[in-house]
Amino acid sequence: MSNLPPYAGPAERTWYYTYRLICAAIFVFLIAPIIVMVPLSFNAEPYFTFRPEMLALNPDAFSMRWYQDIIDNRQWLFSMKNSFIIGIAATLLATTLGTLAALGLSRPDMPYKGVIMGILISPMIVPLIITAAGLFFFYSRFGLSQTFVGIIMAHTALGTPFVVITVTATLSGFDTSLIRASAGLGASQTRTFFKVIMPLISPGVISGGLFAFVTSFDEVVVVLFLSGFEQRTIPRQMWAGIREQISPTILAVATILVCISIALLTVVELLRRRSERLRGISPG
């Protein structure tokens, strides 16, 4: 329905524009909440409403005070550092383990593929509250609750399904004759892996890694159960903030997070295009 065919009658014409309007409304529903927060995070007053001065674009109505608040508040910077430590460690682990597993799963000889795939994907399917409760008991027993190691392990488990899925998807378009060609030309297995396989699947690996990172960076339920004071992350800090009092500081943090998401999204999009180009499917 991209273009109205020339033979369309008046009813079809009306429907065509109504339909576009409906779609526009749905897109607004998707994006509006995220957009609305951004200007409010620059509000000079501690409220969540647009005041007339703001709408008149009076510069006095805007301020950076809530951003200043983040910088001044030890707690936020501290939780940001923790989020990055946990996120990066979990991502590195998840990406390594997940990529290896995906390589194995894509081999034609892989035994019990269905069952194993089911187990590997399960962290994504099991409700977080159940995961969190289970890990809470089990990790406590081994002294892993309220430690970085415990949370990193938990987040690694939650992130691996994304890596497995994206890398497996990339490998499904992988031409295995390239490996034989490489071997035929005398390359060792390691050399083949790094020189032939890796460059081809790296877009999948990186986007899987980014998913794993976002999963960890955004995760709050497991952190609520497992983290102590020292491991407080941004989402944990936001959770406390939303429950207690929603000051525009939360909106400022949220805006920063949205910017991070946009950056990540751009990376993934670029990678996707690169992957398609490499695989010869031109996106046009």
């Binding site: 990055f84 990066i88 008991f137 406590s140 970085f148 890796m198 004071f229 207690e244």
Partner: protein
């Protein structure tokens, strides 16, 4: 992917730095209820103690309950050192053996020389807990939104004369007591009536009359916020939080003291705390005459030491729950009743909420 190498090296570096700095100096973790209350403790207890001993206090927030304590104790990995709990939890935790018994005779004597055991108000020292403050659940309203002025607990349940949304804590505690008091039960008889099935039914029936108008809160910082946002026009709240909103943030709220339900908060130490000696030192320090009186500077909760009363600032005295003008129709929270019936009544309360 050559370009990624420097990045990953940098990331590993950051990771290493993060770990190194997270395992730093010796410190105790003190857990309390957050917001204005924790702030008052930081000012009155933590900072002077840190200055005196050179130790560090990590302050953490929670929403009450013994779940974390019990999990830590059962797992043998206790990371909390001192926890600020309500009396019923202090009793329950002690009974279950998940709290350290405390050597109460080591508590310092009062500033006036009276022995600690005599200085603390009756019931504020128990086998495993040392009291800090007397606090009270009261209700408050927004003066700008109320046409008439509520004066008694009955008015909280009167939606005809006092229309608008109400904020109540999402727990049967206090709410059931208030429902009975509003239904005409004398304050002294509340727990007697509540011990009978008919009394419980009566309380729930009374709550039913306002159910549709209630917004339930969980964290102590919420009700002042909800009043300020206009989500509710009248709400139950802890008196100290309201004091903070009215006196510090200059919000147009007023407190109704009629039917206040008072309780105490106490320090407990989870069994197996790795820093017991330091923690006990902190508790002894924070509950001495001066510190308890100091805390009353920052929040309007009453000290549990008699010797602290005279040291409380004059201007704070009318805001204390125990001030004679406020203490006309008080009810003390019956911890024995709640330790026994809490599970069942909460279950019924949850079912009532969901229904």
């Amino acid at each position: 992917m050559k370009t990624f190498k420097p990045l990953s090296v940098a990331l590993v570096g950051l990771f290493a730095v993060g770990f190194a700095s997270s395992a730093s100096a010796e410190a105790i973790t003190v857990v309390s209820w957050g917001g204005a209350y924790t702030k008052s403790q930081i000012n009155a207890y933590h900072k002077p103690w840190e200055a005196k001993t050179g130790n560090k206090v990590n302050s953490e927030d929670y929403n009450g309950g013994l779940a974390e304590v019990r999990a830590q104790v059962e797992a043998g990995n206790v990371t909390w050192d001192a926890v600020d709990v309500e009396l019923s939890d202090a009793i329950r935790g002690c009974d279950e053996g998940i709290l350290e018994p405390l050597p109460l005779d080591e508590l310092p004597a009062g500033a006036d020389g009276s022995k600690a055991a005599d200085d603390f108000i009756g019931g504020t020292l128990t086998e495993c807990a040392v009291g800090e403050i007397v606090w009270s659940t009261v209700f408050a309203f927004d003066k700008t939104k109320m046409k008439k002025t509520p004066t008694s607990i009955k008015d909280l349940f009167d939606t005809k004369n006092f229309p608008g949304k109400r904020g109540l804590r999402k727990t049967p505690r206090v709410n059931l007591e208030w429902a009975l008091m509003a239904d005409g039960v004398a304050t002294a008889d509340v727990y007697k009536v509540l011990s009978t099935p008919e009394g419980v039914n009566r309380a729930f029936a009374k709550l039913d009359t306002i159910k549709g108008e209630v917004i339930w809160w969980e964290a102590g910082a919420q009700p002042p916020q909800m009043l300020a946002d206009g989500e509710v026009v009248i709400s139950s709240a802890y008196n100290g939080r309201l004091f903070n909103a009215i006196m510090v943030e200059k919000k147009p709220f007023d407190i109704v003291w009629d039917g206040q339900v008072w309780d105490i908060d106490l320090w407990v130490v989870p069994k197996g705390s790795k820093n017991f000696k330091t923690t006990w030192d902190f508790i002894k320090f924070s509950t001495d005459t001066q510190r308890l009186a100091d805390q009353a500077k920052f929040i309007s909760y009453g000290p549990v030491r008699k010797s602290s009363f005279p040291k409380v600032q004059k201007k704070m005295q009318p805001h204390m729950p125990t001030a004679p003008v406020n203490f006309k129709n008080p009810l003390q929270n019956d911890y024995e009743f709640w330790a026994d019936n809490g599970d069942e009544l909460t279950e019924r309360f949850n079912a009532w909420l969901a229904g």
